[in-house]
Symmetry: C3
Subunit: 264 residues, 3 copies
């Protein structure tokens, strides 16, 4: 039997908004340690990894490991019916082909339960090795979202270049070129407004803006975003989920040849 | 001659928003006692009844009974031109085929008059007998609107079931099922947040959510809604209009056979 | 070389929003005295004239007169990437076929530069003679915008009539007629809420509402609008740009014959 009670139910609503444009169907894996998901986007280019640790739930009961296939669009429809202050409980009986979401209003005057059919989804769990990154940028998530959105009005790809001084986002398109530089800045009033760069060596990598814009749907989950870059590795765009875990997006850089093609 | 002056002109704007999606053309009936309307929706399934009593107007002059046929979409276009704080005066000369809406800004610096052609509309006034209802639910109107909207993302019909403990709204659709229970609750800080159930016997009736969602367009008119249910009668969904009257929507329940068809 | 630094960058964003629906491509003319534009709308009916005087810029360097042809839609895309509090600098090298917009965030932590290709645009500069107007109306710009929007839900043209008492806006359409009168009113708490009429002789002129509605896109630039009317001249709808200049729209009145045709 599975029963997970999350007092801050709005977290689950935000997680769903962050996932549903990128992933159509996915297996949610429940174990004693937490509630997690790993899935490729529908065009098999980007990978998303979600973890909500069991400690973050008010009540967490998971008798045996369970993998529940869900249609994220349908799950999102149901979670949209939860109020922002509702407590959300996720329940599944052993061997059942359904999952139940229960929403309790803070006053307990309104209680809703939504039952959804589960699906069989083939998926292989990819091992994501821990890696050393050449450069790690931590910056306000709203700033990163704004930059990705702005640049996509000019071009299709973004070159992210990191030096000790700052991080530069560049694009080019039919109407011209654009460069946005965010300077390293640790002396801010609020820590979440800092832009902090840890760099072993300079990197400059090119990515499709379409995916970056999908990743920024996770912005409401965290005031900061961490972007980890290495020339041979997919970029990791990570949003921490307060005290509970994270949502991480992985995207392979476009190789130089691609980039030249695009420019031609 | 007809001249009705309504200081709280925004009421009339809200009434129009509540009506215009449901009813295309209708006769507004003016008499010494008030300004009223009774109309079927365009598919002849739901009935709406509006009353604005003469005492609610700052000035109310109606020399003889008058029935004015109006296109509600056009009337809505004109009322949208009134500011929310404007005083609205409705004027018609005897025998005229037009009606004039006058909007005065609170400072009297801006005065607008909109003249609209009247229409001949055949309509028969249905007598709605006073009835005894098995159960009457009074609840916050925004809560009711939210539930109808939420459930319509899952299914097409809602089963409303009343017991002494509370009222349950249920639906089912391709993606699953949903139940929302609102408990009787009279010990709230603000009276308009109470959910109060008067019940003679339990009822459980099925309705098309499409109509319920149309009715909830009246939500801005009142902080509470009253739902009166009996197994042999159309449901009445009533929104009181402060000190002046009401807007009531009537909808026949779907019979069991229908419901079974839908489930099959 | 050209370098214009505008601390209140949001002004330029608002100017672009005011222009881009009316004008597709236009030459921006830079001289020692200021940054200006004159252009016909794409259907060659309305004329727009913009002036931003050099004194309004924090830094203004223009070594020689320069005319820069820009696509306003593309320029708007780039300016939308500037934050509302950003300082905007416009730069062009002599003989270059590009212009650069630089956006600096107030904290200087984020610096963006957008480079746009210039275009060759044929245009003749029309001399607009200073004229004496029969009537000049100054009124709140939001009021004027609201009236134009409201009337266009009823009809296609507006008759603007000025008397000593006030200004009347009238229209007629299939569903009826509308008149909005704004009274002269100089005794208001805030000067920008006044409606002031300077009149030499009464005027009554007819204009296409479509253009009036385009002009009101400039509303965010100024809390007041000035409408100058003479029976033989195009109307001038002017929005002052704080301390810097103005944006003026010119539109020829519809002649009586036209009006009669429309009514027929």
């Amino acid at each position: 039997m599975l029963e997970l009670r999350l007092v801050q139910g709005s977290l689950l609503k935000k997680v769903m908004e962050a996932l549903k444009d990128l992933v159509t169907d996915a297996n949610f894996d429940c174990s004693a340690t937490g509630f997690s998901l790993q899935a490729m986007d529908s065009s098999h280019v980007a990978l998303v990894s979600l973890l909500l640790r069991s400690e973050g739930f008010e009540h967490y009961r998971c008798d045996r490991n369970l993998s529940m296939g869900m249609n994220l669009n349908n799950m999102s429809k149901m979670l949209k019916c939860a109020g922002n202050d509702d407590i959300i409980t996720l329940k599944a009986d052993d061997g059942s082909d359904t999952v139940t979401f229960m929403f309790e209003s803070p006053t307990q005057d309104k209680i809703a339960d939504f039952e959804m059919k589960l699906m069989d989804i083939d998926s292989e769990h990819l091992g994501i090795p821990e890696a050393e990154y050449h450069a790690i940028v931590r910056m306000p998530s709203s700033e990163f979202a704004r930059i990705c959105k702005d640049l996509s009005s000019i071009g299709d790809t973004v070159v992210i270049s990191v030096t000790k001084e700052g991080v530069k986002f560049s694009t080019r398109g039919d109407i011209g070129t654009a460069n946005v530089v965010c300077r390293q800045n640790t002396t801010v009033d609020k820590p979440e407004e800092a832009t902090i760069i840890e760099m072993k060596e300079p990197v400059s990598l090119t990515f499709a803006l379409r995916y970056m814009n999908s990743f920024t749907k996770a912005t409401p989950l965290s005031s900061t975003v961490t972007i980890s870059l290495s020339s041979e590795l997919p970029v990791v765009v990570e949003y921490k989920i307060a005290e509970m875990g994270y949502i991480r997006f992985y995207l392979a850089p476009k190789i130089e040849e691609d980039e030249e093609d695009n420019k031609a």
